[in-house]
Symmetry: C2
Subunit: 236 residues, 2 copies
Amino acid sequence: MTRYGTLYGIGVGPGDPDLITLKAVKTLQKVDVVLAAASTRNEASLALSIAQLHLRQGAEVVRLDFPMTRDETVLAKAWRANADTVEGILAAGKSAAFLTLGDPLTYSTFGYLLRTLNGLLAEIPVEVIPGITSYQAAAAHTGRVLVESGESLAVVSGVAGEEELTRVLSSAQCAVILKAYKNMPVIRRVLERLGLADSSVFVTRLGLEDEEVITSLDNVPEKPSYFSLILVRRGA
Amino acid sequence: MTRYGTLYGIGVGPGDPDLITLKAVKTLQKVDVVLAAASTRNEASLALSIAQLHLRQGAEVVRLDFPMTRDETVLAKAWRANADTVEGILAAGKSAAFLTLGDPLTYSTFGYLLRTLNGLLAEIPVEVIPGITSYQAAAAHTGRVLVESGESLAVVSGVAGEEELTRVLSSAQCAVILKAYKNMPVIRRVLERLGLADSSVFVTRLGLEDEEVITSLDNVPEKPSYFSLILVRRGA
């Protein structure tokens, strides 16, 4: 019977190399293989550059490639191929760490990998190591409370579409809009209509050299960087 | 003019001493004073025991006490007194770290401290260091995706009351109910009514010796531990 190596899902945090956990560091120091996958090349390289500070000598780096498409068939095929690669590594008894910027269970592709693997086999030992999310880092950087006492917090993706954004944001005292990069005109319109524009702050490329905090949504470019989010708190 | 020391808001993570960030560790290693405050004694001691692994010799520990009451006047007075204590430390040029289990800007008392201090003075340098939240740790422990692709995530406090719980949970595909400790009958009723009971998992005292994961809400005690939460994902 095959004795599989452990698959680790590691959150390396939001970008600042010091915002990784001790547990992630200790795990990176011992794994045999690092799996770097992402929907964009930038994200993969950033996660990998953080991990590389901690890898032991001789650790292998394997890139999992995903085509930039929304075609479900093409994507499923890529997932299948990548899952096969991962399975081969683990079946050889090697441990492997799948890297995620932020947290492996918060808008990450790690869930897809798990599901694709689970379809094949249930015997792979899996351990998930959480990471600081981009929105926690943005809140910390701007000194804004995310949520407190009796309030609730809604976390939503900016690519969700106008209807979904309106639905989620209209009922939340506190909210985070992630991936606020290609839908800005719609996001701005929804926030203005709900009277939330003045209590919103736009944060982009946090922890990178050209990070920026924009407190008036009017000053946000129509097509910001991929690493952009908006913090909302009613009355903030 | 007074030259204030820096006030750090440090998230020490959910309880596992290895789920603290490198940045928090490096900061704890250099601060002059550690401020341990919490609404419950348990929470304060747990945060402090994690921090104490990293403090330099000679670092002072100052406990900020808060009365266990919902009386706003009594609480405001306690905040005032605690803010005075903190201000005295910072005004003496010492740096201080206010500890929070989890994240300092997610259901933490750090926001209150900031507001009470800001009322007095704007010149205090403040730095916030985010921490892994209890719900990220619970998701990692159970291997459950918190939220992905076009979904949204609602984070709500279990003490919020039936109406608020119903409102928030009825529109979310994914949700986290924190502080699921004294309101369990109401929480269970709301989840059942919304058809979410079967896709919920109850996690208590995670990272502590008596941690427990309960997949059927029927088996959750009426009055669980303070450190309890529920992960919800429609169709999970």
